[in-house]
């Protein structure tokens, strides 16, 4: 915008996401809104260690970075190494290695994807789980390499389905590694609705471990590779 004459080293922190019975007004997952703005970088940490590392990377970056804090993860405890932690923006993290399918997850959906992958392993489906971590810049190398290796890909997205981040990622996968795919790319998302406040309805709307497991199982067992109707 200024040909490098100016930098704007700003980090915008914001709470993000649902699952806490706060209703539609206070439960939005806005990662897809943020990534739609050219010039903004967008990171969403999924655990305490990454919060420190991605915060440091965001603060040190010369450009505006939106760091979305997953509200549902605030009380979750993890091991964090001592000393300085600095990550690199635009790097995904492989949380689990598997050979049958790749599950791409972000933020609060990452622990759910890992738990689902553990359950799927018991059912004979061995999944890689990629924690996308950074939507802009996007670590397409890690994502595409994993999808090429496994031949199947699923996204787990808390944002509403319409224009969710997985739509963009799947279009990149379609353009770049279409011929490595063994079946349709499948997105597991919240529907395009204002999130309900009622416990049962909110749990039903957000991607759950159970929904991830059943969706992957059905897709992997169907002869056409899609979700049987």
């Amino acid at each position: 915008m200024t040909a490098g004459q100016m930098s704007f080293p700003l980090v915008v922190r914001s709470g993000n996401g649902g699952g806490l019975r706060f209703g539609a007004q206070h439960s939005q997952s806005v990662e897809n809104w943020m990534m739609a703005i050219p010039g903004l970088k967008v990171v969403v940490p999924s655990n305490a260690r990454d919060v420190v590392g991605l915060m440091a990377a965001a603060v040190r970056d010369p450009d505006p970075v939106v760091l979305l804090e997953e509200k549902a993860l605030y009380p979750v405890r993890d091991e964090v190494p001592d000393g300085e932690i600095v990550d690199t923006l635009g790097t995904a993290a492989i949380r689990r290695h598997g050979v049958d399918a790749t599950i791409l997850a972000l933020g609060n959906m990452t622990p759910r994807a890992i738990e689902a992958a553990d359950q799927l392993d018991g059912a004979g489906i061995d999944c890689t789980v990629v924690d996308v971590r950074s939507l802009v810049p996007l670590d397409t190398q890690t994502i595409l390499e994993s999808v090429s290796d496994t031949g199947r890909v699923f996204t787990v997205e808390e944002n509403p389905r319409l224009c969710g981040w997985g739509g963009e990622v799947m279009s990149i996968i379609g353009e770049e590694v279409f011929w490595d795919l063994d079946g349709p790319p499948i997105r597991i998302t919240t529907p395009h609705i204002p999130l309900p406040a009622a416990d049962a309805l909110e749990d039903f709307a957000l991607p759950s471990v159970e929904r991830i497991v059943t969706t992957v199982q059905k897709a992997m067992s169907s002869s056409e590779g899609g979700i049987p109707t």
């Binding site: 922190r13 709470g15 940490p45 655990n47 305490a48 260690r49 919060v51 420190v52 590392g53 991605l54 915060m55 440091a56 603060v59 040190r60 804090e69 997953e70 509200k71 993860l73 605030y74 009380p75 979750v76 405890r77 993890d78 091991e79 964090v80 190494p81 001592d82 300085e84 932690i85």
Partner: protein, 71 residues
């Protein structure tokens, strides 16, 4: 190795950067002495009292004094 919550890690990350570089400041709603609804900045106010500033909610009256700069 420390056992930290996601919330505590946010404070640690911000504090790490404020200690490293004194030009790093924290400005926002409920980030300073009053505490936050998320309580995610706990300790930053104490660790670097000149670096955190609370801004008013956009809907609040002007008399709910915004506190800019060192207290």
């Amino acid at each position: 190795m420390a056992q930290l919550t996601y919330r505590e890690a946010i404070a640690r990350g911000i504090a790490q950067e404020m200690r490293r570089d004194e030009s790093v400041v924290l400005i926002g709603e409920d980030v300073a002495a009053a505490g936050a609804s998320s309580r995610a900045r706990s300790g930053c106010w104490r660790s670097s009292a000149t670096g955190a500033s609370a801004t008013p909610r956009s809907a609040s009256r002007p008399s709910s004094a915004p506190r800019w700069g060192p207290q």
